[in-house]
Amino acid sequence: MRVLLVEDDELIGCGVEAGLRQAGFTVDWACDGHKASLALDTTRYALIVLDLGLPRVSGMELLKRLRDAGNDVPVLVLTAKGSVIERVGGLEAGADDYLGKPFDLTELIARCRALLRRAQGRSIDLIRYQNLTVNPAAQTVEIDETRVSLTSREWAILLQLLTHLGIPQSRSQLEESLYGWQEEIESNAIEVHVSNLRKKLGAGLIKTVRNIGYVMEKP
């Protein structure tokens, strides 16, 4: 899951970035509205964590532009100004959720998960698929109630495919969800991770779509 964090404060930014990484998200951190716009133009994100008090392009403006452009990515707004007017303004401008500073990192992560879940049309966190039980919050996968351990990359690919059932995901889409800006993309990595997943979870689980990528069929 690739998340765009838009936060101008360095200490908060690197903290949230680290926290989201710990929770298994791939994080891109933009420190102003302008850089965030550029990132949004070039990358598809599963979620945006947006600070409203941004230099250059304000968070609210960014949000409006995003919604005007028809982008319905879930947005969680962070702001230090906790007034009701601001909260209502943020929500009406198209935010999906709201957190006031100082916030609790675990709450932020839980809310991010909830937003993603809702965006994927689920209301409980556990994803069940055939004989798999996947818990995104705990980052655990069970086959017939037996815990299988996955690397974070394998986990991310599985989650990406699970949340796009029936829609083939291209190699580049998977890479996008896997690597943040600072990370170097290893060649053939996707193929390696997919083959590992097949070994761990069963060969028939992930199908190859020739010349396109991979897909997990709808049940």
Partner: protein, 472 residues
């Protein structure tokens, strides 16, 4: 003890003015009346003398032994009525003497003998004359050399005239004395009525909610009260603005404090959840950074609040170059970390009149900014110049500088130039501006070293100049 009252004063002033004007009117009427009565009596005495001049000696001697009552003559023979409604109860016997051309007395009132006026020499010409007979003032009128060749002299006691005059005067004065208390009451009530808008205004102000700052309106305001209402409204509006500023400042301050607190919490939670010891340490170091930042912010807010209170601080002559050197040394580590070359140039002896701790804070803020926002590997220069009775302290860097549009907003509280990466509250320059203002220095922002970066010039009055301007 009662305080001064406009109502009481107005009533007293109005009544005193009325009493004064009435008094003057009374005195002048009294005089007028007394003069007219005097003229009238003189005319009457002259008339009486003329009548006597026409009488023959038999009639004169008959008349001399009777009495001529002026009042009876005046009232046309109604003695009873005249006695009843006239205040003048004293007898008013007119006395006379008629003499022949050779000076022989033809007839005369016998009382004249008793008054030792029988042989009184006649004045040379006809006319009125006041004369004292037997200790009493008499008006007399002499008619000389009439057609019959007689001279007639008529005497009348003077009190008849003054009695009449005082009667007239008391008749004029009596309604006035009755009117005065009535007038006082009316004036008291009408002044109270006219002062009602003041009472309404005070009620409007007293019953006002302390948080309500809109202008006071009491309907149709009389022009005398309007300046007061306007002044109150102006004060309210000034108060409103200053309160708004305070509120905005408090809100901004709270907001600014929330940011480092949020950072501390996030970093602490990252440290708690991080299994990797190295990353955990890093997060904990950032927690410490966050605490430092909040502490500095709190210090700056306190300093601003203290400067806002505008207490007059004791000043002393001091050399900015010396303070700048100490500040440079304190900031040297930060500068070395960014490989910034720091220099101090200019007049080491120039003196200003200020408070050393505050000047230290001013220079520290400027230097801290210059190093923070300066270019890594660049230069920061502090220059002290003394010219035209001003001592200018200039801190320049060669960093990315500030966009011209943002220059003017740089000293606004909590303003941070867009796109800057360094940590800060946006309070530094507003503190500098406040301190500079406190010591009568002007602050000027411009372009830094080699058409790059930012230059902040603080121009103080030189020590001697400040001293001299204080003397004038």
């Amino acid at each position: 003890m009662m305080g001064p009252s406009i109502r009481r004063r107005l009533v007293l002033l109005v009544l005193a003015s009325i009493a004064l004007v009435w008094g003057i009117a009374l005195v002048s009427s009294y005089r007028q009346a007394s003069r007219e009565i005097g003229e009238w009596e003189e005319a009457r005495l002259a008339e009486l003398a003329q009548i006597l001049a026409l009488l023959d000696s038999t009639s004169l001697s008959t008349l001399a032994n009777a009495r001529i009552d002026v009042r009876e003559e005046e009232k046309g023979g109604e003695p009873g009525a005249s006695l009843l409604d006239d205040d003048d109860t004293l007898p008013r016997d007119a006395l006379f003497q008629v003499r022949a051309a050779n000076g022989e007395v033809l007839a005369g009132s016998p009382q004249l003998r008793a008054l030792a006026a029988w042989d009184l020499p006649l004045p040379a010409a006809s006319g009125a004359q006041d004369i004292v007979l037997g200790g009493q003032l008499y008006h007399s009128f002499t008619l000389r050399d009439t057609t019959l060749g007689h001279s007639v002299r008529v005497f009348e006691p003077a009190n008849t005239r003054s009695d009449l005059v005082s009667g007239v005067a008391s008749r004029i004065a009596r309604p006035t004395l009755i009117a005065l208390p009535v007038l006082a009451l009316l004036v008291w009530v009408s002044i109270g009525f006219s002062l009602a808008p003041l009472k309404i205004l005070s009620v409007a102000i007293r019953s006002r909610d302390i948080n309500r700052m809109e202008p006071v309106g009491i309907g149709r305001t009389p022009i005398e009260v309007r300046p007061l209402v306007d002044a109150i409204n102006q004060m309210l509006s000034r108060l409103h603005h200053s309160l708004e500023r305070e509120r905005a400042f408090t809100a901004d301050a709270a907001h600014e404090l929330k940011t480092p607190l949020a950072a501390i919490k996030v970093q602490a939670q990252v440290a708690l959840a991080e299994p990797d010891v190295g990353l955990q340490r890093l997060a904990m170091q950032r927690v410490v950074q966050g605490v430092d930042r909040s502490a500095r912010l709190a210090e700056q807010l306190l300093l601003l609040a203290r400067l806002d209170a505008q207490e007059k601080l004791p000043t002393e002559p001091l050399k900015p170059a010396t303070i700048a050197r100490n500040t440079l040394l304190a900031n040297l580590r930060n500068a070395q970390q960014k490989h910034i070359n720091v220099m101090l140039t200019g007049d080491a002896l120039a003196e200003i009149d200020a408070e050393p701790v505050l000047i230290g804070i001013l220079l520290d803020n400027l230097l801290d900014n210059a190093i923070k926002y300066g270019r890594a590997g660049g230069t920061v220069e502090v220059a002290v110049q003394h010219a035209d009775e001003r001592v200018q302290v200039c801190v320049r860097d060669d960093g990315p500088g500030v966009a011209p549009d943002d220059l003017a907003r740089l000293t606004n509280r909590f303003f941070r130039a867009p796109g800057n990466q360094a940590t800060g509250s946006g309070l530094g320059l507003s503190i500098v501006a406040r301190i500079a203002g406190h010591f009568g220095a002007s602050l000027q922002l411009g372009v830094g070293i080699g058409e790059r970066g930012l230059a902040v010039k603080v121009s103080f009055p030189a020590y001697g100049a400040a001293h001299r301007s204080m003397m004038h």
